[in-house]
C-alpha cells in the first residue's frame, strides 16, 4: 500500500515538472517582446535595442529579377522623376550604395522591397511630394521588421504623425533607405562601436538643438572622444517605442533611467562615481515622494525634482564643473531656487548631495543616527527585560498557586480529581464559595494596609529578606507550605 502511494506521488511530481517545463518557455516567449525594445530592461553598458532582425513575413514579388536589371537603369546617374509639387525625386541608386548596406551584404534584392516595380514598364506611381514618397514606401520595411514597426507605432513620433506632423520620423529617416547599417554585433547582440556615435547624428537630423546641447554635456563630450560607456539618445529614450519625454509618467520614471547606469558598480567604478545616488535620492524627501508617486499614481503631476531637474536634461555637466557643477554649493543653491525662490545660503546643505552620512560628510546626521542606534535598543531592551521579568514572575506564581490548590483538593477530598483553576486565585476562591467579592478583600486589606508605613525605611536600608519578614508579618507564612491557601492568595495577588 505505501509503495503504491509512493509511485503515485512520484508520477504526480513528474507530471507537475513536465507541465512547468512545457509552460516555462511559453512564458519566456510571451515576456520576450516587451524586453526587446525597452531600454530599461537591457544591459546598461551598451543596450541592445533589437538583437536580430526577424523576418516575420517572406518577401513577395518577382524574385527572378536580378539587381543588375534594376541597376541597368537605376544604377546610372541622372534618373529623376518630377513629383506633383515640382519636387525632384532622384531614382538613382549607386550599385555600391545598396551593396554596402546590410541588406545588400545579406543578398537582398531590390525587388524584395520594391515588390510592385519588378515588371517593366513600371506601374504608374505618383506622389504629392518627396515626403509622400517616404510615407508610401514606409510599409515596405514592415514586411520583415514587423516587431520594430509595432514598437514604433507606440512612439512619440507616431503620435506626432497622428497629429498631422509629417516630419515625424519614419523608418528610413533614421535607418536610410538604401544604406541601412548593421547596428549590432550578431554574436554578442551589442551595439557596434561606431554605431554609438552614429545614433545621435541620426537623431540630430531633426533634433539638432538638443544634439548641440548633448554634445556639450558630460556624456556627449565623452562620446565624441570615443568613450563607448556613455549613453546616447536611445539609452534614455528607447529605440523604436520612443516615449514622449514630456509626460508625467516619463518624468516619474526618469530616475530609473539614470539609475540603469549610475547604480552599476562595474561601470561607475571606472569613473570613481558613487552607486548610491539612487538610494540616497529615494531616501530623501524629494526622491521618496517621486518613488511613491511612480508606484501609486504614475501619471500624476509631481512638483518634486527628479535627477534631471538638478543635473540638467541634455546638458548634464560634471558635478565639479566650476560653472554648473552641483558640487559647488552656490551652483546647487541656484538649482534649489528654481523651486524654492525663498531659499537662503544655508538651505542648499539641507540636501545631502547624495552623501551617506558619515563622520566626514554630514556628521550631525551621522551622530543623530548613531545616537538612536544605541538609544532605541537600550531603552526598549530595558523595558522588555522588566516586562519579561514581571510576566515570568506572575506566571511562576500562578503555576505554584495552581499546584498548591490542586494538592489541597486531593488532601480534602482524596477520591476527587484535582481541580485546576485557571482563574486569578482571589476570584477563584470567591467563585468557589459563592460569596461576593466584598468579604474577601477585607482580609487581604489587613495584610496590605500595614506595609506602606515601612516602604521607605526598613526596605531600603536593611537586608531585603530580613526587612520583609519583619514588616509583612501577616503575609510571611504565605511562603511556607504548611499554611493555608488564604495567605498565599494574597501573595500572588501582589505579583
Amino acid at each position: 500500500m505505501p509503495a503504491r502511494r509512493v509511485t503515485l506521488l512520484l508520477a504526480l511530481g513528474i507530471l507537475v515538472l513536465l507541465i512547468i517545463a512545457s509552460v516555462y518557455p511559453l512564458l519566456k516567449t510571451v515576456a520576450a517582446p516587451a524586453l526587446q525594445d525597452t531600454p530599461a530592461a537591457t544591459a546598461p553598458v551598451t543596450p541592445t535595442p533589437e538583437p536580430a532582425p526577424a523576418a516575420t513575413q517572406p518577401p513577395t514579388g518577382n524574385l527572378s529579377i536580378a539587381d543588375e536589371v534594376c541597376l541597368g537603369c537605376h544604377g546610372q546617374p541622372g534618373q529623376n522623376m518630377t513629383l506633383q509639387n515640382g519636387d525632384i525625386l532622384e531614382l538613382y541608386v549607386p550599385a555600391e550604395m545598396h551593396q554596402g548596406s546590410i541588406h545588400g551584404q545579406l543578398g537582398y534584392a531590390c525587388v524584395q522591397c520594391h515588390t510592385t516595380v519588378g515588371e517593366y514598364p513600371h506601374p504608374s506611381f505618383s506622389a504629392t511630394d518627396r515626403r509622400n514618397v517616404t510615407e508610401q514606401l514606409n510599409e515596405v520595411c514592415t514586411r520583415c521588421h514587423r516587431q520594430q514597426n509595432d514598437f514604433a507605432k507606440d512612439s512619440a513620433h507616431e503620435a506626432a504623425r497622428a497629429r498631422g506632423v509629417r516630419e515625424a520620423a519614419l523608418c528610413v529617416d533614421c535607418h536610410t533607405a538604401h544604406e541601412v547599417r548593421q547596428l549590432h554585433d550578431p554574436r554578442t547582440g551589442q551595439l557596434l562601436e561606431d554605431v554609438k556615435t552614429w545614433i545621435p547624428e541620426r537623431c540630430a537630423l531633426c533634433h539638432n538643438a538638443i544634439y548641440q546641447k548633448y554634445q556639450g554635456s558630460v556624456h556627449g563630450s565623452a562620446l565624441s572622444e570615443g568613450n563607448p560607456d556613455v549613453p546616447t539618445c536611445i539609452d534614455c529614450h528607447g529605440v523604436h517605442n520612443i516615449a514622449d519625454p514630456r509626460t508625467n509618467s516619463f518624468r516619474l520614471k526618469s530616475p530609473e533611467v539614470c539609475a540603469k547606469c549610475h547604480t552599476n558598480p562595474v561601470l561607475m567604478s571606472k569613473y570613481g562615481l558613487s552607486t548610491a545616488v539612487l538610494d540616497t535620492y529615494v531616501s530623501d524627501f524629494h526622491g521618496q515622494t517621486v518613488a511613491l508617486f511612480e508606484k501609486q499614481s504614475p501619471d500624476a503631476q509631481v512638483n518634486k525634482p527628479v535627477c534631471y531637474d538638478c543635473h540638467g536634461v541634455h546638458d548634464i555637466s560634471r558635478v565639479d564643473d566650476p560653472h554648473t557643477g552641483l558640487e559647488m554649493q552656490q551652483n546647487l543653491l541656484a538649482r534649489c531656487e528654481v523651486c524654492h525662490p525663498d531659499a537662503t545660503t544655508n538651505f542648499s546643505a539641507a540636501w545631502m548631495s547624495h552623501y551617506i552620512p558619515s563622520p566626514q560628510n554630514y556628521a550631525l546626521v551621522y551622530y543623530v543616527n548613531l545616537f538612536y542606534k544605541f538609544f532605541i535598543p537600550i531603552t526598549l531592551g530595558g523595558m522588555t527585560l522588566l516586562v519579561v521579568m514581571d510576566a515570568s514572575r506572575m506566571l511562576i506564581n500562578r503555576a505554584r498557586q495552581r499546584r498548591k490548590t490542586a494538592r489541597q483538593a486531593t488532601q480534602t477530598a482524596p477520591g476527587a480529581e484535582p481541580v485546576i483553576d485557571m482563574r486569578i486565585p482571589a476570584l477563584a476562591d470567591t467563585a468557589a464559595t459563592g460569596t461576593p467579592v466584598t468579604p474577601q478583600p477585607a482580609e487581604v486589606e489587613a495584610s496590605v494596609v500595614s506595609p506602606p508605613v515601612n516602604t521607605e525605611q526598613p526596605e531600603s536600608t536593611g537586608i531585603e529578606e530580613k526587612a520583609e519578614t519583619q514588616s509583612n508579618a501577616p503575609d510571611q507564612p504565605a511562603s511556607e507550605p504548611p499554611d493555608g491557601a488564604n495567605s498565599s492568595d494574597s501573595e500572588v495577588e501582589h505579583g
Partner: protein, 404 residues
C-alpha cells in the same frame, strides 16, 4: 502614554470601605488622554509608513489615505491637534501647581530607583512583594517623561522639516536632515515603547480602565498604589484648598495663563503657517530648447555629369555620331537601350531608324512621321528631352538625320 502631571486631588475620603472606588483621573484628563491617544496613533501610523515607505503595508496604508501627499496632510493635521493638547496640558499643569498646589507626584525621585531595585529583587525571588508604589510608579513616570521628551523632540524636529527655509535662515542646512533622522528615531522609540511598555502594564497585565472611567477600585489601589492609599486613608496627603484661597490664586493665575495661552497658540499657528509655500507647485521645466530643429537637409548630390559622348573623329556636330548618339544614350538609354522597352533600342543608328514595335522612331527628312518626335512633342515622357534638345533633333531629322 498620557499620564498627566499628577493630581492627587481625589476628594479626601472619609473612611476606607472595601467597596470604595477613588477618582483617579478627572473628566478633563480623560478627554485630554483620548485626544492625545488619537493624535499619537494617527501620527505614529502616518509617520512610520512614510519612514518605511517601501514596504507593501506602507504602500497599502498610503494608498488608502490618498497617496503620500494625503498621508502627509493627515500627519500634519494630527500634529496640529497634538500641539494644541500640549498647550492645554502645559496650562493645566501650571494650574495644578500654582492654584491647587498639588503634590508633584509625577516627579521622579530616588524612591523610584529603590522601587525598581525592589521589583527586580522580587522578580528574581529575593522578595515576597513588589515595591509599594505611590500615586505614580516608576513605570508611569518613565512613560510620562518619555512623552515630555518625545513631544519636545518631535515638535522641534517636526518644525524644522515642516519649515525648512525658515530653519535654514538660523541653522545650518545640515540640521534639517538631522532633524529628519531624529524625528524618525524618536518615532520608532515612542511607538515601540507604547507597544511594549504601555500595552503590557495597562492592557495585558490587567486591563486598566481607569483612564476611561476615571475610577480606580479600592482593591486596585491596594494592589498598585498601596502607598498612595495609605496616604489617603490617613489623611496625610494633599487637601484641596479652601474655595476662597483658590479664587484668590485664580485672580493672578488666570491673566497670566491667558497671556501664556495666547503666546503658545500664536506659536502653534506660527508653526503651521510661518512658511506657507516652501516650494513652487509648478513643475520646473526640464528641457528648454526647441524639440524639432531639423538640420537643413544636405542638397542631394548633384547628378553626376554625363559622360562626354565620345565624338567620332571627323563627325559633324549635327550628326548621330557627333551628338545624338550620346544624347539618346543619356536621356533614353535606361529604357531604350539594353532593355529596349517597346522594342525600341536607341543605342545604334540602325536600330534607331528601325524603330520599335510601333514603327520607325526616326524617319530622315520627315520629323512629323518620326515617332520619337511625336512622343517627345506630347511631353511627359519618362525620359523627356528639353525644348532645345527636341528642336535640335527636329533640325537633324529635317536635315536627313545624317549618321556622320
Amino acid at each position: 502614554m498620557d499620564n498627566l502631571i499628577s493630581v492627587a486631588d481625589h476628594p479626601a475620603t472619609t473612611k476606607p470601605v472595601a467597596t470604595q472606588s477613588y477618582e483617579r483621573f478627572d473628566i478633563f484628563e480623560r478627554i485630554e488622554h483620548i485626544i492625545f491617544l488619537a493624535s499619537f496613533s494617527i501620527l505614529g501610523l502616518t509617520g512610520l509608513v512614510q519612514k518605511f515607505s517601501a514596504s507593501p503595508f506602507s504602500l497599502f496604508v498610503m494608498q488608502t489615505l490618498g497617496g503620500i501627499e494625503g498621508t502627509r496632510r493627515i500627519h500634519h493635521i494630527a500634529a496640529f491637534l497634538m500641539m494644541w493638547v500640549t498647550v492645554y496640558h502645559i496650562i493645566a499643569v501650571l494650574y495644578r501647581v500654582f492654584v491647587l498646589r498639588v503634590q508633584w507626584t509625577m516627579m521622579p525621585l530616588l524612591d523610584d530607583f529603590t522601587h525598581l531595585f525592589q521589583d527586580i529583587a522580587y522578580y528574581l525571588g529575593f522578595r515576597k512583594h513588589k515595591a509599594y508604589y505611590g500615586r505614580y510608579n516608576y513605570a508611569e513616570k518613565v512613560e510620562y517623561l518619555a512623552v515630555v521628551w518625545g513631544t519636545i523632540i518631535m515638535g522641534i524636529t517636526g518644525f524644522m522639516m515642516w519649515n525648512p527655509i525658515t530653519t535654514a535662515k538660523y541653522l545650518p542646512g545640515e540640521a534639517i536632515p538631522a532633524a529628519k533622522a531624529a524625528h524618525g528615531g524618536e518615532a520608532i522609540l515612542a511607538v515601540l515603547a507604547i507597544i511594549i511598555w504601555h500595552m503590557y502594564h495597562v492592557h495585558l497585565k490587567r486591563f486598566n480602565k481607569s483612564m476611561f472611567t476615571g475610577k480606580i477600585t479600592h482593591e486596585e489601589m491596594e494592589e498598585e498604589h498601596p502607598a498612595e492609599l495609605k496616604v489617603i486613608e490617613t489623611d496625610a496627603g494633599w487637601q484641596r484648598p479652601a474655595p476662597q484661597v483658590i479664587r484668590r490664586r485664580q485672580r493672578t493665575f488666570i491673566p497670566v495663563a491667558a497671556v501664556m495661552a495666547l503666546v503658545l497658540s500664536w506659536g502653534v499657528i506660527q508653526f503651521v503657517t510661518v512658511e506657507p509655500s516652501t516650494a513652487l507647485t509648478t513643475i520646473p521645466k526640464g528641457e528648454t530648447v526647441a524639440v524639432f530643429v531639423p538640420i537643413t537637409p544636405t542638397p542631394r548630390p548633384t547628378t553626376t555629369p554625363k559622360p562626354t559622348a565620345e565624338v567620332v573623329a571627323g563627325a559633324s556636330s549635327n550628326s548621330w555620331d557627333g551628338n545624338y548618339s550620346a544624347l539618346f544614350s543619356n536621356r533614353c538609354g535606361t529604357c531604350h537601350g539594353r532593355t529596349a522597352v517597346s522594342g525600341l533600342n536607341l543605342s545604334t543608328y540602325q536600330d534607331a531608324l528601325k524603330g520599335g514595335s510601333r514603327g520607325p522612331a526616326i524617319v530622315p527628312g520627315n520629323p512629323d512621321a518620326s515617332l520619337l518626335v511625336q512622343v517627345q512633342s506630347a511631353g511627359s515622357h519618362p525620359g523627356q528631352l528639353t525644348i532645345d534638345e527636341l528642336n535640335q533633333v527636329i533640325e537633324w531629322i529635317l536635315g536627313g538625320a545624317p549618321e556622320k
